[in-house]
């Protein structure tokens, strides 16, 4: 799963720690999501979307292989 988390965070001038604080998760979790090492749970994805004021699909985007599998 690709995501725009680093860009959105940078636009707002938030550090990983600041975003983690807003989400109520560890900074390691934010780091792992940004690096693509971890896909967040659905509740956490909703929370991320809420924090940025966007829809989930504006932040997360499936990899091409994931889309082709679904089709």
């Amino acid at each position: 799963m690709k995501n725009r988390l680093p860009v959105l965070r940078a636009e707002r001038g938030w550090s990983q720690a600041a975003l983690a604080e807003r989400l109520g998760v560890s900074r390691q979790t934010v780091n792992a999501i940004e690096k693509g090492r971890y896909d967040p749970s659905l509740p956490l994805a909703f929370k991320i979307a809420t924090v940025f004021g966007l829809a989930i699909e504006d932040i997360f985007e499936p990899e091409e292989s994931e889309v082709s599998h679904a089709e």
């Binding site: 109520g24 900074r27 749970s41």
Partner: protein
Amino acid sequence: MPNETPKVKISINGTAIILAAVALVAFWAGAVQAAWALVWLYLASLVLVAATIAWIGIGEHSDEVRVAAVASETAPRKGEGLFSRGVRVVAFSVWVVVTAMAFLYLAFSGHPLLLLPALSLFAVVLPGAGERLLVDEYVRSVLVRSATAAHAAGLAAGFLALVLVRPTALELFAVVLAVYAIVLEWAAWRELR
């Protein structure tokens, strides 16, 4: 939406308590050498668990832990290059291996000088009280994966030791315990550093 706040508690007792009880029974039964070996294993397991907890740490609430000392700044540290990060990883790995080897030696020889590497655990780990880390869904998954790897490594090491050197039951237990502790600590640190 469900509350993301995790409810994870870290428990430390089982192995150490059982080892202590068995050691007492061994002393009582006159198996002094085996009893001393168990005492060292008991202390070794306590120190290893303490080191792990000190590294991860425990916050005021059961759902909070602290990343201390070695892991206080997740990789890469600010301005840290690949080389210095590699040196940090190697130094920590060597330190854990040397300490664990010292524990094993202590278990079988009881030479007091070998306590020095064990004390290094406290010297290196305890001084730093790092950032707060929540045991959330990601951290929990890391801990589960680390424990799985530690189980597999412990079993494999035990099997190899059994085939290659035909150890006593106590030696076999010591090997499995040491390998388990090393892999658990290293695997968790590797992802959460």
